[in-house]
């Protein structure tokens, strides 16, 4: 980037919205996955859609890659800067633009914090359903990029279910609108494709969200089992009994210890802890809670508690949501894994993880969204002990392979980003990935928007299997074929 381009970019956002000093850039060299670090050329903090467009147009003109960033809490390196690129932080675009209760819609800018949406609508007894553990700091724009889930998506669905429309700056600076306030807008469901595309298809500058009325009551049950096997059997029984709880979470002994040490959630000390939350009309929830109680008992639960107040319920959740960070209490270093398996494969995969863990001499703590088979094994290690980090990484990779072999997925909510792009080739066949990349080419033919993420091998647009046509940038010597 020449000085002139630098000046042009600075002029768009003003000197307070432009970061280029190395010490300040350090903040942006990674996201929540600190393993990968790349220094961006500059970080821009636009405060309007027009500014985002102006920045992207310059990137397009200069063939300069850009990475959009929300709060930087992502765990797969999705917001990791790319070499010779800039970072566009949406943190200053943080206004809630419209709240429409009769239609249960909220329109926000991408930098709005997830929990602030609920904060804004809770006086009228509504809430925004997707609740990733980082909800008090993560942004809606980041949630859109990652299609964030959370504990309650078992019942309420993921971010994609709650995004009705998007205003998007495409990688050439064009402004487009996907979906809208009404349902089923004529045309392709581009909002459906954009949500979860990890910043590779453009930058969302406005998001139309659906909000949900708070249920009449919420009941949270804690059940202590001898091991995760019995807890897993109880989960299966709850699901096959035809119930759809708002959340079902499981923690193993190591995670319980860590959560206890960190937030004193007053969890029973046991081999497998189940947290089941039901919500809805009082009479319905109470009838079902009785049944959940029986199911837990018949599967060997030694202790069952139902949170008696909002405060108790909040504490129960605090322990669960703090589980990742709490690992610091019992291990100097750890890797947070995110894989999905069909729920029925749970006992088999867990015992396999245990076997691998013993073999490698590396401890694994298991925290998971048991209702939908989303595992978060935490691989614990000590960097100071020679060979442990490598062993932990290898174990973490093996766990993902177990998930793929069980017919699951390499990521349930953290995304592919930089971290798992190689694993994509294990989960999908070449034609599957090539087809996704063709869609990407429609949005971003120059491959400027977060270009090195998600896919194991980038593909030049215009490249068609069987009929070789050199891309314009290739002929001009700008790009090379992989």
């Amino acid at each position: 980037m020449g000085m002139q381009t630098f000046d042009e970019l600075r002029a768009i956002v003003g000197k307070h919205g432009f970061i280029s000093s190395p010490e300040e850039l350090h903040t942006y060299e990674c996201d929540g996955l600190t393993y990968f670090r790349v220094m961006p050329r500059a970080v821009l903090l636009p405060s309007s859609t027009e500014q985002v467009q102006a920045i992207v147009r310059i990137c397009h003109r200069e063939r300069m890659p850009f990475v959009a960033r929300g709060s930087g809490t992502g765990l797969s390196g999705g917001a990791l800067p790319v070499e010779n690129g800039i970072v566009i932080s949406l943190a200053r675009m943080n206004r809630i633009l419209e709240v429409d209760f009769p239609n249960a819609r909220v329109v926000v800018e991408p930098g709005v914090i997830n929990l602030d949406v609920t904060g804004r609508v809770s006086p009228q007894d509504y809430f925004y359903a997707p609740d990733p553990s980082s909800q008090s700091i993560c942004s809606i724009g980041g949630n859109v990029a990652e299609n964030s889930g959370g504990a309650h998506c078992l019942k309420y669905g993921f971010t994609t279910t709650h995004v009705l429309g998007l205003e998007v700056v495409l990688p050439d600076g064009t402004l487009v609108h996907f979906g809208g306030k009404t349902l089923d807008a004529p045309g392709y469901d581009l909002a459906g494709v954009f949500v979860g595309s990890e910043g590779t298809l453009g930058i969302a500058t406005e998001v139309i969200l659906r909000i949900v009325k708070r249920p009449e009551c919420v009941r949270t049950l804690l059940a202590a089992f001898p091991s995760t096997n019995e807890a897993g059997a109880a989960v299966s029984d709850i699901i096959t009994a035809g119930m759809l709880p708002a959340a079902i979470e499981m923690m193993d002994n190591l995670s319980i210890q860590a959560a206890e040490a960190a937030v004193h959630a007053n969890y029973p000390n046991c081999g497998g802890l189940l947290l089941v939350e039901l919500d809805g009309p009082v009479a319905e929830v109470e009838a079902l809670m009785t049944q959940v109680n029986e199911i837990c008992r018949s599967n060997g639960a030694s202790e069952i508690r139902v949170a008696q107040s909002d405060a108790e319920r909040a504490l129960v959740w605090k322990g669960r949501k703090a589980a990742f960070a709490a690992m610091g209490r019992i291990s100097p270093n750890y890797i947070v894994q995110d894989g999905v398996i069909p729920r029925t494969a749970l006992p088999r995969v867990l015992s396999e993880i245990e076997r691998l863990s013993k073999e490698a001499g590396v401890r694994v703590a298991n925290v998971f969204h048991a209702g939908d088979g989303n595992l978060h094994p935490l691989v614990l290690y000590d960097r100071r002990i020679a060979g442990q980090e490598k062993a932990a990484e290898a174990l973490s990779a093996q766990i993902l392979e177990l998930c793929i072999a069980a017919g699951g997925s390499i990521t349930g909510e953290h995304g592919v980003g930089e971290d798992k792009k190689k694993a994509m080739a294990k989960m999908f066949a070449e034609p599957d990935l090539a087809t996704m990349q063709r869609v990407r080419c429609a949005f971003d033919p120059m491959q400027l928007s977060n270009p090195t993420k998600v896919f194991p091998t980038p593909r030049l647009c215009g490249e068609k299997p069987g009929e070789y046509v050199p891309h314009a940038s290739e002929s001009a010597g700008i790009a090379e074929r992989y």
């Binding site: 669905g157 487009v176 004529p186 009479a283």
Partner: protein
Amino acid sequence: MDAATKHEASGLHSALRYKFIAIVGNENVRAATAADAVAGVHPKLVIEVGTESEIAEILRLSNAAGLAVIPRGGGTKLGWGNSPERADLVLSTARLNEIIEHAWADLTVTVEAGCTIQRLQETLAEHGQRLALDPLWPEKATIGGVLSANDSGALRSRFGALRDLIIGATIALPDGTLASSGGKVVKNVAGYDLPKLVTGALGTLGIITRAVFRLHPLPRNTRSFSVATANAEEAQRFALAVQDSKLAHTFLQSHFSDDASPVSDILFEGTEAGLVGQEAQLRNLAAPARVLETSTSSWTAREKLWTLADPENTVIAKISVLPANVARTMKLVEHIANGQQVRWRALVYATGLGWLRLEGKVGALRGALQALRRELESQEGSLVALHHPEKMPSFDAWGNAGDALPLMKAVKQQLDPKSTLNPGRFVGGI
């Protein structure tokens, strides 16, 4: 189309036809008849494929030869969308109908495109489960067709649309690629969500060969009620009050027409104890309006609306408005219908989606549709005409696709560059 491909298309009885026969067998290739017409356009050949690789191979050959391909499931919604610009080949998925895996303990099912909704539901019911969707004509409609047309009914307000139920898909592209995306688990963010892209794409990007869905348990008990209201405003007030209440209803739909005051149906599912509680709340909420318990299923309301006594003087449209604009929309329909002297009837869900039937003279129907679309689009809504008389002068089925249309065309160009699939049937001439 250049001269050579034109020749190829008209010479379907020759070399290419033999290639097709070599792939699917003689008994699965036949000349098209009048019954195979697609919105007034007559194809030449009908091929029934039996496997995914057959579909990919037929598609690849057709694409190379410049033929236009019309994918077909049960054929129940084949009239939806604009008339095709060209139609050479109907590719039927009727034989591609296996239920591959009902992983009942995982609440998922993998099913081939040609399986009918009814057969799928019957299989799922053996384990007390369902695909929580109530599409039109389930005994004939297929998975692939319902997905492509994005058809959903009243259950959508509780369980979401097809986009929320589909978790994986395999599609055959015109170049012969078979591509899978999504997966077999409900929670999965690996790669682009192409199942959503092909849902509602009317078969213009690829042919769906199989789909994976998340399932829901069948309800333990149900109870439904109807609430009569004096006028559209009252019906809307009731619907919005229900939406804003703590009731956990499964669906809410309202009937409007030119000859009766509005009636709203509401369905609850759950435990007996839960249902008793909800009924009491409903009666409170609806007072002073009368709440009647109904035993007849309201599921067939949409099919009734679709009963065409006189197809040549009837229009059926799907409308989408904001939930708080329903009353205003119904008054608008009434006003426009009166002006054009057409009869009207509508079924509107709590989501703001609805179905409208207009009956009258062709010119008046067209005028009414145009006026109504203009108004709905100005209120961020839409109107899609799904059935219109054959003799009605050309009327774009879709309306305004917005500023993303060039991008939609770019997506089409990437996946189907020669416009082999359903040419001209979708928005903006796609």
